[in-house]
């Protein structure tokens, strides 16, 4: 569908929020927790914060949570009985306050979860998720969405995108059928489109490189020493992958209690030293620079080659969360100049 534009008054926003809550959908929105600002279930609009560049963790957990039980099993004399994932129990969720970079992250994530087989748990969850984006008025030194094809007001991935105007009211862009459904909950709040230009109300994010240049360079410099130099201070934790909107690696575990148990999937990270450790004891990525190279190559070379989408949306979360200040934008800029 074509994007429809409306004006939503500042005072209408809480009303819309309440209508969505009243419709019975689960609403997750950025909330100030004791240490971080993250998406969480919120009871009322007063709990929602708009004081954040991006949340610490990405919005991906709505469809790809850090731990997910895939099925239960019971062993008995007659074999194994499996209770499958209850797909019909997945609730309708509205993600409120998603930044454009985060919303754009669902495309690569979806591409990974559907590229060989269709991961029904992920895709069903995504189908039942409505994304209400808020474009960025502020950016920090870690933001680089414009260098990887995004921008602070991008509509990609959102179902409705709100942009704050100089008056304090919002430009609402209704992008998809799911967005229309939200609008239909309170059509009176969506007034005639404002004349004000959206662009002038967006954060300025300088273009530092392009993703195509990065792809060209990393393909060429696979054996370069640059990986060693860049990875020197990396201590091999999994923070970058866990806050990333597009990282999709997981581990499968069976948790047993006697004859009962369940199979779960849980986040994993290519930066862990044991990520590729074989049973034989051989590790094809034995050092941290190989693991760092894998992280960059996967996002900027393997993903575009195989599933036609880049694995980085430029949110800069990994840089902010990194305990040793591995600044991905800085590293990529240096690679682009090689």
């Amino acid at each position: 569908m074509t994007i429809e534009k409306y004006l939503v008054k500042k005072t209408s926003l809480p009303v819309l929020f309440d209508k969505i809550k009243a419709s019975g959908k689960v609403v997750k929105a950025p909330k100030k927790k004791s240490h971080t600002t993250d998406f969480a279930d919120v009871a009322s609009f007063s709990e929602v914060t708009d004081d954040y560049i991006v949340t610490t963790q990405s919005a991906k957990s709505v469809a790809f949570p850090r731990v997910e039980k895939l099925f239960n099993y019971v062993k008995s004399k007659d074999g194994v009985q499996i209770t499958d994932y209850a797909l019909n129990a997945i609730p309708e969720v509205v993600m409120w306050g998603v930044r454009p970079c985060d919303a754009a992250g669902f495309d690569p994530l979806n591409a990974i979860f559907t590229w060989d087989i269709n991961d029904v748990i992920f895709t069903t969850k995504l189908k039942k998720t409505t994304i209400i984006g808020f474009s960025c008025q502020n950016a920090d030194e870690n933001c680089f969405c414009t260098s990887v094809g995004g921008n602070p007001g991008s509509t990609q991935g959102s179902d409705i995108l709100f942009t704050k105007l100089s008056s304090g009211d919002y430009l609402a862009e209704v992008i998809s059928e799911k967005g229309k459904a939200i609008q239909a909950l309170a059509p009176e709040l969506f007034e005639a489109a404002p004349s004000e230009d959206k662009e002038q109300n967006l954060a300025k994010v300088d273009v530092k490189f392009t993703k195509e240049i990065i792809k060209e360079k990393v393909d060429k410099y696979f054996e370069s020493d640059v990986w060693k130099e860049q990875a020197q201070r990396c201590i091999g934790c999994g923070t970058c992958a866990f806050v990333c909107p597009t990282c999709a690696c997981f581990d499968i575990q069976d948790e047993n209690h006697g004859k009962n148990g369940h199979r779960i999937r849980t986040w994993d990270s290519c930066c862990f030293s044991q990520f590729t450790l074989h049973t034989s004891g051989h590790n094809p990525r034995p050092t941290q620079d190989r693991r760092w190279r894998q992280r960059i190559m996967h996002k900027f070379s393997y993903m575009p080659d195989r599933i036609n989408v880049y694995g980085c949306v430029g949110c800069g979360r990994c840089s902010r969360a990194c305990p040793v200040d591995m600044n991905i934008a800085e590293h990529l800029t240096n690679i682009s100049k090689m």
Binding site: H35, T36, T56, V67, E141, R233, I235, F242, T266, W267
Partner: protein, 266 residues
């Protein structure tokens, strides 16, 4: 800092060391670790009160060892870690040069690990008033409140293991959390997995933790996990007479005193 840079340049140009492990300016002016291999780059070294990362973590990393003999810029928290690592035979005196740095940013050189140990006698490892207050606040809660506090706090953890990776004492190539024969701790970051991971982490650091807060500073979720090890430190000091890292005696939990308290044992 001038004398530290001068010494660093000397060490590099005389090839006494191959790399200087220090701090340099990172994103937004915040410090980050630097591995200086050329004399010309020595100017990039910085030191200020924000340099809280424990650089000793790099001394046991295979990738860094490959760079050759290091000199390490070492404020008090790094010095403590060096003593503990030395006691645990993870580093040898001949393998590193320690560029001690006083609280007022002056260079202090050490001829031996023993010299570091006696220097540290002026910096008793004790919890400050604010830390004690937080410990007292948590300890003062009821049993149910304490349980609620920690389950809530630890439910934030997504098990990225940044706390482990940033800790100079967590140098094991294969951590107990990754053992799977038997599997002690659930891999997943669900409540049980988180609870057991953090309990095990704290216990394995009992009497070894140098109270540098590297774990807390590394945590992307800002979890107060350092207060588990701080509690252990306070308990060890109070109940077992522990004083801090030393080259002389064994580790707290690999030694004993026949007169240790046992008022809780029937």
């Amino acid at each position: 800092m001038v004398d530290v840079k001068k010494k660093a340049a000397e060490l590099l140009s005389s090839e006494a060391v191959k790399v200087i492990i220090g701090y340099t300016e990172g994103t937004g002016g915040k410090p980050r670790a630097a591995f200086i291999q050329n004399v010309a780059d020595v100017e990039k070294l910085i030191f200020n009160s924000q340099c809280v990362m424990n650089l000793a973590v790099y001394l046991t990393k295979a990738e860094i060892k490959k760079l050759g003999k290091p000199a390490i810029v070492a404020p008090v928290n790094v010095l403590r870690a060096i003593i503990q690592l030395a006691f645990e035979v993870q580093i040898q005196e001949s393998d590193i040069v320690v560029l001690g740095i006083t609280p007022d940013e002056k260079l202090v050189e050490f001829q031996s690990f023993a010299a570091i140990e006696s220097y540290l006698e002026d910096f008793k490892m004790e919890l400050d008033a604010k830390e004690k207050e937080t410990l007292a606040k948590i300890s003062g809660m009821s049993l149910e409140e304490r349980w609620a506090y920690w389950t809530e706090e630890l439910s934030e953890c997504f098990k990225c293991y940044a706390c482990r990776a940033a800790c100079p004492m967590c140098y094991c190539h294969k951590c107990a959390v990754e053992q799977n024969k038997p599997q002690w701790i659930p891999v997943a970051a669900h409540q049980l997995g988180n609870m057991e991971w953090h309990i095990m982490r704290a216990m394995h650091l009992a009497g070894r933790c140098v109270n540098c807060d590297a774990c807390h500073n590394a945590c992307p979720k800002g979890i107060n996990l350092n207060f588990l090890t701080k509690l252990m430190l306070a308990d060890a000091q109070e109940q077992l007479g522990y004083t801090g890292p030393t080259l002389k005696e064994g580790n707290l939990l690999s030694t004993y005193n026949p007169n240790d308290q046992e008022n809780f044992i029937k």
